[in-house]
Amino acid sequence: MRNTPHPLNIAWREDWPQGWPHFFWGQWLISPLVKASKPLDSASDSTVELGSDSLHQAIKSCYPQLSFAQLAHLYEQWRHNPALQQELNWQALMAGYGFRDSEPQRLTLQKLIQMPSPFQAWAHHKALGPKDLAILLSFAEPNPDFDELLEWMAHSQTSKSIGVQVLEIAGELLLMGKALPSRKSLRPESYLMELEGQRRPLSRAALENKNQELSTLPWPARCSGRWLRLGDALVLETKVMGSNFQEVRQRLEALSRVFLAREDSPSQPASELSSPSEGSCQ
């Protein structure tokens, strides 16, 4: 029985079942130090010596899945503990969890551990990977506004896909020296739209102008349209409603006349109208 176990820092695994034994590999305690809120009692708790060939295999057999955020905690311990470095092959451990060890990945692990704890927990529960967290590497110094945002994201139960976009766009705005828009009473989805507008102000203005212009067209009854951005292109979405084929056809004809008149209109922006003349400069 060991008197001074060396526990590995596996975060968010504190609910180790009461009846389970503690798992060791050499001096390293792989299961959590705390069992259902009861500290390890080396005298009475049963322990199991794992027979794996290496520590990384022992960890993997105990924890078939570890998130990138959990690995960040373990990495923090590993890089400050020469004895652990000697026994744990970090590259092999990462490979076991589907990550290819590299310097950018190690730097991301280090950055993640410096972020507010609620955000780390959120990153763990949402299984964020190194690419999702790449924005963290662009911050050379801690940024209180960014930290506040991260805490808000964690507390707002933001979904992974929305959260990853918020992270990147808000991070870029802060790095551009801009203030983040207020989050008061906004849901993450709405906040993302707000951020997108601020990150791409020219494109948003261009879209608003086009829609403003569209609203001035003499739309036939029960016809409507709006400009949308689809990838890098603007597309015009048009709705035509009718209670029978003839009605739809009539409205389409009316709509066609409106569009034809619009195409001939001299108020079109130059970028749409300019047509290079014939010649070799084509």
């Binding site: 924005i135 020219l202 951005r229 890098d232 300019s274 010649g279």
Partner: protein
């Protein structure tokens, strides 16, 4: 520095720039290795049996990428040197272009450089066995020798910035003397041309410059030659009978883009005649989505490239909004036309929609550009490759 020739200045800059030169033992006796051993101080040279930094694999960090530009590794290439330009993909309208890669990584430092998402070598690599590449070309000449083919060397390296060290231009120009129906294209942002200016050639060598307004160069194209130096080098090449072309690519949107690109067109048109420039390509900023992380980390959000409002294009790359690209292309085309209708301008790596919006026709239908987009050539290359593969298989 003042008394040194331009070529000596270039050499001196490169010798200072590289902190370490690792030479693969296997090619220690190659002419290029011998040249580098002579040029570099012995304390910078080491002989190795494998690539430096063997522990580095996969994606590079920003720091590793920056370091790779200062560490030269001379080795031999084991593989096929010659391949088709990556622009030739479904969804893009691309010119016929073949690439010959004699190395990888660039000693210059453009914020938008696509090598940031493309390379994972922790060192700048130069291959010593250019002879083998020329053998591949000789073989290709057997099946395609009668066709006009463009071969470029500026895909994974700048064609000329390292040339004062390697002098590869000498071998390449000499080879193309025997293949006058083919065209060799050097593509550069440097002004290193003196080392080949006196070389005999058959007029089938194009030296092309990627150009941008000086303000964009200062802001985004770090370690490259100034616009003035690039244009002066282009004039020197023209004087010696080399063909000269320009790539206004990538055009980068910024607040004064109209004024700056207009001034660039004025400068070009005042110094060059359209008849002496076989083509001029236009392209707008574009990059792979995953590249944005390293760009942001390395150049910050003050960079116009990182501030750009980008959207995912049909090919998956991040691009300016289509309407903005069309506006930029139309603007520059219009400026060229104001000077002369004879400038031969085409779009690089753009969608058919953009071609139609700016030129109103696909490039194959435009008389002056049709030869560049003659896909019979690439089809023939593909067929000959398939034939060779079949022969090997049997």
């Amino acid at each position: 520095m003042k008394n040194l020739s331009k070529q000596q200045q270039d050499l001196s800059r490169l010798i200072d720039q590289f902190e370490r030169v690792s030479i693969d033992e296997v090619i220690r006796k190659s002419p290029l290795a011998q040249r580098l051993i002579e040029l570099f101080p012995s304390e910078k040279i080491e002989f190795v049996t494998s690539r430096p930094y063997p522990e580095v694999s996969g994606e590079l960090s920003a720091g590793e990428f920056a370091r790779s530009k200062r560490h030269l590794f001379l080795t031999e290439f084991r593989g096929q040197f010659f391949k088709r330009c990556p622009g030739a993909k479904p969804g893009l309208t691309c010119c016929n272009y073949f690439v010959l890669n004699w190395g990888q990584q660039c000693d210059m430092n453009c914020s938008y450089c696509y090598l940031q998402s493309f390379l994972n070598s922790p060192v700048l690599v130069i291959y010593s066995n250019l002879d083998q590449a020329l053998d591949e070309l000789r073989l290709l000449a057997k099946s395609m020798g009668h066709q006009s083919l463009r071969v470029g060397t500026g895909e994974l390296v700048d064609s000329l910035s390292l040339d004062p060290l390697t002098l590869f231009s000498h071998q390449l120009i000499e080879f193309f003397q025997d293949h006058p129906q083919w065209t060799l294209e050097f593509k550069t942002k440097s002004d290193s041309v003196e080392q080949f200016l006196e070389q005999d050639h058959r007029g089938n060598v194009i030296v092309s410059w990627s150009i941008n307004p000086q303000k964009v160069i200062e802001q985004e194209e770090h370690g490259t030659a100034s616009l003035e130096k690039r244009l002066k080098a282009a004039e020197l090449c023209l004087d010696k009978g080399f063909q000269v072309a320009f790539h206004m690519d990538p055009m980068i949107w910024h607040e004064d883009w109209r004024e700056n690109y207009s001034a660039l067109v004025d400068e070009l048109t005042s110094r060059f005649r359209p008849e002496s420039i076989p083509y001029l390509s236009l392209g707008a900023l574009r990059f792979q989505p995953e590249q944005r992380h390293m760009m942001r980390e390395r150049f910050g959000l003050k960079s116009w490239v990182n501030q750009a409002e980008m959207f995912t294009g049909k090919d998956g790359k991040l691009r300016y909004p289509l309407e903005l690209r069309q506006e930029m292309f139309n603007f520059v085309l219009g400026r060229f036309k104001e000077h002369s209708p004879h400038w031969k301008v085409f779009l690089c790596m753009e969608s058919p929609e953009t071609w139609l919006a700016t030129h109103q026709r696909a490039p194959q239908k435009i008389d002056s550009l049709a030869p560049l987009f003659d896909h019979k050539v690439t089809r023939s290359h593909r067929q000959s490759q398939e034939l060779r593969a079949k022969e090997r298989a049997t």
